[in-house]
Amino acid sequence: MRRLKRYRKRLRRNRGSRSRVTSTSYSDGATDTRIANITQLSPGDTAVIRSTAGNKELKARLLEMGLLPGTLFRFIKSAPFQGPVILKIRDYYVSIRWADAANIEVEIAP
């Protein structure tokens, strides 16, 4: 019973986060860019970092490692059960904890 409750909760959470993926059309109307956080990407997606929120130390660390707004990266994969994600950025692979990655807002390249 408890497990079912937990499952429902997770389902709801997932649905909630999905709905945050919004579509925005730019003035030229030609490109359609999706805004999401990193954990919502699928393997193989290329995206551009928009902003980093949350924990100050984490933000500083990400910046130093070159995860700046405007930087392109490719989403490789995530470990099961909301484990860390792997990105390829600036010629290297970096692994970021799920909760930390959820703070990074990105724009999916069309």
């Binding site: 600036r90 692979y93 970096v94």
Partner: protein, 735 residues
Amino acid sequence: MSESPAVQKRHDQDSRSLSNRKGNIRTALVGNPNSGKTAIFNVMTGLNQKVSNYPGITVEKKHGYCSLSSGQRIELIDLPGTYSLTPESFDERIVAEQFLHWIHGENPPDVIISVVDASNLNRNLYLTSQLTDLGIPVVVALNMMDRARRKDRRIDMSELKSRFGLAAVVPMTATNREGFDELKSAIIQAGQSPAPDSSSLPFAIPLKPAEQLLPVADFFEKSVGYSSRLAWAQALRLVARSSVYDLYASSTLNGARLNRDQLGDLNSLRETAIQNLNGEDLDPQSLEASLRYQWVDTQLEESRERILEALHGTSRSETVDNILTHRWSGPLIFVSLLYFIFQSIFTWATVPMHWIEAGFSALANGTLNIMPPGMVRSLLVEGVIGGVGSIMVFLPQILILVFFLTLMEDSGYMSRVAFMLDRFMTKIGLHGKSVLPLMSGYACAIPAVMATRTINSWKERLNTILIIPLMSCSARLPVYALMIGAFIPQKKVMGIFSLQGLTLIGMYFLGTGTAIIMAKIFSKYIKARGESSFVMELPPYRMPLMRSVIRQVYIRGKAFVTNAGKIILAISIVLWFLATFPRTDPGDMPANSNPIHTSFAGKIGHTIEPVIEPLGFDWKIGIGLITSFAAREVLVSTMATIYNVQESGEGAVNLTEAMRNDTDPQTGLPRYSPLVAISLMVFFVYAAQCMATFAIVKNETNSWKWPLFMMAYMTGLAYVASLVVYQGGQLLGFG
């Protein structure tokens, strides 16, 4: 704010000049984690520091020298890897602290060698550009050229040199020993060349943030005496992370540069600047990073096409990762790998172990034949050869264990394990980066405790330190191996698994499992300082260099042998005296008794026997428990020495046989049963018996509280667990 002449003076006094240093060129190796600083350091100095393929393997400062044909010497300092000069974890703090000392004129190097991974330029050059702010010539060692070439990445060396204001750029591949002569001559030349331009930062700070930073930069320039460029750079860093201010604060406490008033001024300037920046909607944390990265990116002139191409190129590592870090096959491979390692410790080591055993036995018998009977012969055979020999037998097993751990690290696999286990680790109050320290805890707790420095959150670091000693280290292996070899039958379970191997793995599991439970418990009580996060670079997989793997195995093996040579030899000799004296004339003894009971050692053992009797231990093991506090493996040599003295004069005793055949004189039953063996092994899984570990924990946690706590909880666990095993086992009718 007045000008501080004292600071200014010291700054001038220590300023860089070659003439007053007897021809020595002082250099420091600085670079990103895993860029190959230590590999360069080792080749240059001929020293054997540990290199690996895991970010952050160097966690302390190391010194070395390199003699040149001209008679000059290059002094090298190898610093831990860092991504920037604004520290987060403890190992990065070491670098930032070192920099502050240099800035303040304390032994600054003549040349900074910035080690750059050529296959990953932008991120590495970010740190390099920070280094050029210091006003010390910077030589870039453009390492891992082989990888850059493979990626078909062309780099214009002279452009790089002029754009970044470097003294030289030396392409090299440290692992192939390529480019070292060029590096040396570049260092010599740089030692004589002028310092980089220090008038202004290479990039412009936009007007708005510059206005807010001006008071801070002014303070650094006028009151502390920095160059204009350094003053602005430090101002940017000061508002980015509080750790930068902490460094200034602690360097004041250590009796150096800024006095209390200045520090107070600095703090209020910093707070005002941060407030104003935030008010202008400018983010103080990202200011330096975004400006500098933008500048670096512009200098490198990379097209979007090249960036996209690089992102989409599937590297070999990524292909390998499709299997090794796959959601299901990844963990499965990891567990099978661990099983394979522990099984091979038992199977592969058997043959060399027999050789060593035979060697020492021949040595003992030879000594018996050559020397006349007497005190000296007895000391040599029973104390020295018996004690040391009993330990040396386990050398092959330790070497095999270290060999596998080194392979896992050097290939780049260990950081993938951190990735796979971070989720689980956070659940039990640890960190993905706890995996490497915990795994190296299987070899030895001391380097393992030091390796926790890369964990950036204090709570998780302390928690990791506290449970590391529960990971069965290689010093316990001799104890397990002796007890298993003597008392666990050589049977097969389910046709394929050997019972002895399973028992060994069981002991490792028991320690590791308890570590997990304890971590969960401790995490509820340790207070957090700051938030935890996990960001870790995954280095490319690399074929481990056999040279460096063998070197690592050699270093551990040597440490084990020297340890045996020193501590174990000393204890064996002391123990021999204690077990031999005072001598009782055998005629005065009741029948069936041995003079060893009335010796000092015998008396000590019999005194503590009541305490350990409920665990199934007798007075001999009691002595072993006391002596093994110096180092766990001493238990084995202690038992060997005691049996040798007891059976005095009848040649070297085979310890396994002796323990098996030991009978209680009163009852005539065997003294030790498999149950006692298991109880003793369980005791060793938990017991806190290593002085060196406590010393290092005291050092790393900077207090007596944690090492004492560790000792208390481990001893408690050991006693209770052994009690349960032995008493429970007896109730169930075993033993």
